[in-house]
Each structure stands twice: as structure tokens, then as C-alpha cells.
């Protein structure tokens, strides 16, 4: 009896070399963009930033110290240390002192860095606040920042070229 052998085709390997090339390029691009400095410029979670047409660049030699102001808490630094609440910022001198000491410490660290490396970095305060926060708290924080040697204060916003037109439409 003759045996019938089924013919098996050899499976060809999927060439993933080109795919790997693309992924490598994307990976390098993403790693370059997602840096710690870029993290400071991103929109914090659960925060609604105001919209502006203006987009000003950070000064070339600026090193930022971040303050996030939520309706229920104030977070300072990239480590998001809780400094207190908005109410405490206005009413409690100790809370203001904590924030002031932190900012001054950061400013002095930048000054030490300049002395050590011969650079000319300027401390910049970057405030990220929810648009529904009353200005009195922002004012308080700006005062503390200015008192702690922060000459440059930046407010994080979302760029929207059409916000004025959108406002006009909503009114009509």
C-alpha cells in the first residue's frame, strides 16, 4: 500500500526587522520628549488650566520650581509635597513659612550650583493652578515666591488661539 504523505510547507519567519527599526526610532523620540523637565510642563491630573493665546518661553537659563494649586491642596516641587490647603495658605502663617522655606531652599540650591559650576541659572517659579481658584490665593503665593528670590514667575496655561472667539460665541 502506498503511503500518501501530506506535503507540509515550511513556514516562513515573519520579518520583524523593519518593524523593530520603526519602534527603535519611536522609542528614542519618546524618551527624548518625556523628560523630567517636560513633566513640569504637562497638565496635572484633575486640573483645569486657563486658556491663553500668549505662549511665553521660559528664559534660557531658567530652572523651575513647581507649585501646583488645586482647590483642596497645594503641592510643591516635582515630588508633589503637600504644603497645605488654600485656607491654610491665607490663614496659617506656618503653612506660608513652609512654602517660603522650600522656595528659598530651592533658590539657594540653584545659587550654590551657579557658584560650583560657574553657571548663571535663574530660579523660576512655575505656578500651575486650576482656573476656578480665587486670585487671593495666587496673589499670596506670588508674594511668597517674590519674597524667596524668584524674580521670574510663570503661570501654566493651555494654548488656545480661539478662546476669545469661543467666549464671544458663548455669550451670544
Amino acid at each position: 500500500m502506498r503511503k500518501v504523505r501530506r506535503k507540509f510547507y515550511e513556514t516562513t519567519n515573519l520579518s520583524i526587522t523593519s518593524l523593530l527599526d520603526i519602534l527603535t526610532i519611536i522609542l528614542v523620540f519618546l524618551i527624548k520628549n518625556v523628560s523630567m523637565e517636560a513633566q513640569k510642563m504637562t497638565v496635572p491630573e484633575n486640573m483645569s488650566l486657563p486658556t491663553t493665546i500668549t505662549n511665553q518661553e521660559l528664559i534660557d537659563n531658567g530652572l523651575t520650581v513647581l507649585v501646583k494649586i488645586y482647590p483642596d491642596r497645594i503641592l510643591i516641587g516635582t515630588d508633589n509635597l503637600k504644603a497645605g490647603t488654600l485656607q491654610q495658605l491665607v490663614e496659617d502663617a506656618e503653612t506660608r513659612e513652609i512654602i517660603y522655606n522650600y522656595m528659598q531652599h530651592e533658590a539657594s540650591q540653584i545659587a550654590k550650583l551657579n557658584t560650583r559650576k560657574g553657571t548663571n541659572y535663574q530660579p523660576c517659579l512655575l505656578i500651575q493652578a486650576d482656573k476656578q481658584i480665587p486670585c487671593q490665593y495666587i496673589t499670596q503665593l506670588v508674594k511668597i515666591g517674590a519674597g524667596a528670590s524668584f524674580a521670574n514667575i510663570y503661570f501654566s496655561t493651555l494654548q488656545d488661539q480661539n478662546w476669545l472667539q469661543a467666549t464671544a460665541n458663548s455669550v451670544q
Binding site: 519618546l30 518625556v34 510642563m41 500668549t54 511665553q56 476656578q132 496655561t157
Partner: protein, 174 residues
């Protein structure tokens, strides 16, 4: 060339060159790339700057001597509701003899940014040299409103924005 049977057994088979195993690398990439993509922010984050290094205190947006003294001090007051007396709106002092009141007649709850924009354009058109503007803000004005007011000033040729909180209560008239 013929081999002896014993030698023929030792001959290695000609096999195609093996490709490196890329599957672990692919696994790594497939994990990292979605993670990084999540961290990328799609919306364009911008910044509005205030500079406190210029002389004169308060806070000027000009670096060094950029915020020079100008003849007229334009004050833009951003008001908010306080009891029944103050309405959300803008008041510009220092430009004309009387303060210019800008309020939203259609909707009292909203600020009339369009009207403010028109007024700032007019002011700038009539006096090109003006660069400084002082924004005085009531404590209960929302941060978003303040930033958009600063934004309009900067957009209309007032790069030196001086930010001041309202320290005195608002009275009627000029």
C-alpha cells in the same frame, strides 16, 4: 570529493544562518511605547510670565529697564461680585478723564472680554508708546479670568503687565 562513511557522519549539515531572537526585544518595546505615549501630552501647554526683577516693585513684566516710566498709568481693574454692589466686569482708569466701565449687558455673570479687547486695541492705536498696564484684581476674581485678562493685554501690545491685588475696597465713581 568523496568522504569515507565515518567522516561523512561527522560532516555538519549546512543550515541557514539563525536569526537572533527578537521576541524579547519586541515585548519590551510593546510595553514601553504605550507607557511613553500615555505620558505625552497632546494639548499644547503654554506659559504666561510675570517678572519681578524690574525696579519699581509690585511686579513688572519687563526685564531690567524694560518697564520704563510712561506718562500715563493705565489701570485695569478686574472686579467680581461682592454683595450687591460690584459686578463682574472691567474698569479702565488713567486713560480718559472718566473711568471706562466694561460690563456684559447680556449676561451679568460673565466678563466681557470682547469689549475689553476692543478697548485695548483702541488705546494702543491712539498711543503706540504705551507698554505698561497695571492689572488690579479683586480677591474673589477667578484665576482663569486674571490669566485671560493678562493674555489680552499682552496680545494687544502691553508686554509689561504689572500685577497688583486690590488692597482697597472699591468705591463708586472715579
Amino acid at each position: 570529493m568523496a568522504y569515507r562513511p565515518s567522516e561523512r557522519r561527522n560532516q555538519k549539515k549546512q543550515t541557514p544562518p539563525e536569526q537572533p531572537n527578537l521576541v524579547p526585544i519586541m515585548n519590551l518595546f510593546v510595553t514601553i511605547i504605550p507607557f511613553l505615549l500615555v505620558m505625552i501630552v497632546i494639548s499644547q501647554v503654554a506659559m504666561v510670565a510675570l517678572n519681578f526683577s524690574a525696579p519699581g516693585g509690585g511686579g513688572s513684566d519687563a526685564v531690567g529697564d524694560g518697564a520704563g516710566v510712561q506718562d500715563k498709568e493705565i489701570k485695569l481693574i478686574v472686579m467680581a461680585t461682592e454683595g450687591n454692589q460690584i459686578f463682574p466686569g472691567f474698569e479702565i482708569r488713567g486713560w480718559e478723564d472718566k473711568p471706562i466701565m466694561l460690563r456684559n449687558s447680556a449676561n451679568n455673570d460673565q466678563y466681557n472680554f470682547l469689549s475689553l479687547n476692543r478697548t485695548l486695541v483702541n488705546i494702543k492705536r491712539r498711543d503706540q508708546k504705551l507698554e505698561n498696564i497695571t492689572i488690579i484684581v479683586y480677591p474673589d476674581v477667578m484665576y482663569g479670568t486674571l490669566i485671560q485678562t493678562i493674555d489680552l493685554c499682552k496680545q494687544n501690545g502691553f508686554p509689561n503687565v504689572i500685577y497688583k491685588p486690590a488692597s482697597v475696597s472699591y468705591g463708586t465713581g472715579g
